[in-house]
């Protein structure tokens, strides 16, 4: 009985497979139909194709909303077409699909913040082979698979702005301490070394008494701030070169007796720091301006599309309100010195 059942139902199943075969055939005809289609839709050739699409790491990220808005402003200034495409989650494979799509759409250029330095390379190179210019910003890919990288800041610039800020805030003398991320955080350690050198060379009256690690954890950073202030009663300033650290330290200072007596600066984001800056706990802190980053990326892409530059070292291009920029070694363009946020300008930012 069982066997008989399976024998006869085979006919029905064969029919279902036939239906599948039809659909597969349809996919195939879709392919062949496309082959005969001439490349009529191509936007290349003729005038420069200033359709530039921003591909941030993911959507719904305030930082990238700000940078892409900067890019949009620039693209509208020079009369191009702005678009933004990104996966909902920050994954490399999601970005690959979008880069492939943009290649097919024959956009003029892509401004990309890469989720992985190598995973995107093949897709990016396919785009470049098809004549699309690719500029990375914020997060780079390997140097051989993009035309330009817009670097937000150098280590030297980041170290210098923090030392300058704390020196100004404490009157260039007294004890300071550093509240960092983890003990082996590559970026932070590089900055701390540069800050130490800068302090020794240019600020002999400032004494760096300690470097503590809040492990980029809010509560640990909070506790370490408290411990620092207990251990060094004469402490005049804290530098926290990490966004988690500076926000936690500010939260401690805000409700303690040290508010206004101990200065705090470092790297933070306006949304995290807004309260502390408006109520005077923190005078000023630094980061780069993501809107300028996107703005510069858009102008760099335009220059590549129009052929004014090729991405070689020494190439110069105009970047609207930001002025003229020069391409450095390895096809990077430096945005400039980090941006200082204070009471007067923090209202202009939302990220």
């Amino acid at each position: 009985m069982f066997q008989k059942f399976s024998r006869t139902s085979g006919v029905a199943r064969a029919g279902a497979f036939a239906a599948l075969a039809v659909s597969v055939a349809l996919v195939a005809t879709g392919c062949s139909a496309g082959t005969s289609d001439p490349e009529a839709s191509g936007g290349a050739g003729g005038d420069a194709n200033l359709a530039i699409t921003f591909v941030p790491k993911n959507l719904g990220n305030a930082y990238f909303d700000t940078s892409d808005a900067g890019g949009k402003e620039a693209i509208e200034e020079f009369g191009g077409t702005y678009d933004e495409q990104a996966p909902a989650e920050g994954t490399p494979d999601g970005q690959v699909s979008f880069i492939n799509t943009l290649t097919q759409q024959q956009v003029g250029g892509i401004a990309l913040s890469a989720n992985d330095p190598t995973a995107l390379c093949d897709a990016v190179n396919e785009a470049r082979d098809a004549g699309v210019k690719v500029v990375t910003f914020d997060s780079d890919t390997s140097a051989d698979c993009r035309d330009l990288y817009i670097n937000q800041a150098t280590s030297e610039g980041i170290a210098k702005v923090q030392v300058d800020l704390i020196a100004e805030q404490i009157g260039d003398e007294g004890q300071v301490a550093i509240l960092s991320a983890t003990a082996n955080a590559t970026n932070q350690n590089a900055w701390i070394d540069l800050m130490k050198a800068d302090l020794e060379a240019n600020h002999p009256n400032i004494e760096l008494v300690d470097t503590v690690y809040g492990d980029d954890d809010d509560q640990t950073s909070f506790d370490k701030t408290e411990a620092l202030l207990q251990t060094y009663p004469d402490l005049k300033g804290i530098i926290s070169p990490t966004t988690v650290g500076i926000a936690a330290a500010a939260r401690y200072l805000q409700t303690s007796d040290f508010k206004g007596k101990v200065q705090l600066t470092g790297l933070g984001t306006p949304n995290q720091m807004r309260d502390y800056v408006t109520d005077g706990t923190v005078t000023a802190f630094a980061l780069w301006n993501p809107a300028d980053l996107g703005y510069l990326a858009a102008y760099a892409t335009k220059a590549l599309i129009e052929g004014t530059i090729t991405g070689a070292e020494g190439d110069k291009f105009d970047a609207g309100k930001l002025g003229e920029y020069t391409v450095d070694a390895d096809g990077t363009v430096l945005l400039g010195d980090p941006y200082t946020f204070n009471k007067d300008n923090i209202g202009d930012f939302d990220f």
Partner: protein, 354 residues
């Protein structure tokens, strides 16, 4: 076997039953599988005529490369869901196999051997799931939620935040190569072979009948001589191996082995399987529908991306489609029940009621 039934037919002659209640054309056209395949064809036709750049060979090349991991894992997943179980750890197994491949290749093993070890790791991962579900007797939902975290944790733990990227170029090129001058990726052949094997396994073997029987009533299946434990165990091992294979493909395609590779892919697989007409309660489903379901989600995403629709909206559309497809099954069942009186006869005017 055929002769036997003929003989019995001759001897009794008293009563004959029709094999099916409905004629062949109705069974073929009025089914979930047909609906999904029809939707796929509709999306292809509409996209081809309305979306610029859609009807090009390169679209289908990228589309197939993108959906391949989902297509592969959907094969064992279909069988597992038909038995009434689920495997949520597939994407984590992909990540683990990716990391194993990467770390061994970095240590000097050629890709072939490293991939073989990765497949074995996948089999072991599947066997652990199978052991906990069949021998220990835990529910698969709980077990695979646990191993989802466990395998992902192992993968991220082994490689940390670093990535292995120096894979042999000939292998990376192979993964992206096309068959001859066509725009069909070579790797799709692996899927076609596996799909044929799985279709035969599910629809044309006693093992496959057992899978369906298990999903409908595993106690009855047990009494009719099906080895329930062994069947489920084999399915979870298969799922582990195929996930590892998908992980190897993923690693070579993107040229990077990372602990967080393919995070969240299990949901895409399960969504496609359910869209393809497989019942989440088990016992019902067919592979052609599932394959069409995967292609439908992939094609829709590809067409919408080309039409510059943002990823959030694409997610909303695919999500709605999935909910509608699940709701439609229940709705049709409810409608069928309403139209049919307890005695089996249809009521007078169903149209007037609705």
């Amino acid at each position: 076997m055929t002769t036997e039934s003929v003989i019995t037919g001759n001897k009794t002659t008293a009563r004959t039953y029709k094999d099916y209640g409905r004629p062949l054309w109705r069974r073929l056209l009025v089914s979930r599988e047909a609906a999904v395949i029809g939707a796929l064809i509709l999306v292809l036709i509409v996209s081809n005529s309305t979306v610029r750049n859609f009807g090009t060979p390169i679209t289908f090349y990228y589309l197939l490369l993108d959906v391949l991991p989902i297509l592969l894992i959907a094969l064992p997943m279909t069988l597992i869901i038909i038995t009434g179980e689920i495997d949520l750890s597939v994407a984590s197994t992909m990540g683990l196999s990716s990391v194993v491949l990467g770390i061994l290749h970095q240590g000097g093993l050629p890709i072939e051997q490293a991939a073989l070890v990765a497949l074995v790791v996948g089999a072991v991962a599947g066997a652990i799931n199978g052991f906990l579900i069949t021998v220990v007797g835990l529910p698969s939902l709980a077990v695979t939620i646990g191993t989802l975290a466990l395998y992902r944790g192992l993968a991220v733990g082994i490689l940390g935040t670093t990535a292995v990227t120096d894979f042999t170029k000939s292998w990376k090129d192979f993964v992206k190569s096309k068959i001859g001058d066509s725009s069909i990726p070579t790797v799709i052949l692996i899927f076609i072979v596996l799909a044929i094997i799985f279709i035969i396994l599910l629809h044309f073997t006693p093992f496959g009948r057992g899978v369906f029987a298990l999903g409908l009533n595993d106690e009855a299946a047990k009494f009719s001589g099906i080895n329930v434990e062994r069947t489920k165990f084999i399915l979870f091992v298969l799922s582990g191996v195929i996930s590892a294979l998908a992980g190897i493909y993923y690693t070579l395609r993107f040229g990077t082995a990372r602990g967080d590779n393919a995070t969240g892919l299990e949901l895409s697989v399960i969504a496609a399987v359910l869209l393809g007409g497989v019942s989440i309660f088990g016992g019902r489903g067919a592979l052609p529908g599932v394959i069409a379901g995967v292609l439908l989600i992939g094609t829709l995403g590809s067409a919408l991306r080309l039409a510059s629709v943002t990823s959030d909206v694409i997610n909303i559309i695919t999500g709605t489609l999935l909910v509608l497809s699940v709701v439609s099954t229940s709705f049709l069942a409810w409608l069928h029940k309403k139209r049919t009186k307890p005695g089996g006869k249809k009521t007078g005017s169903p149209a007037a009621k609705s």
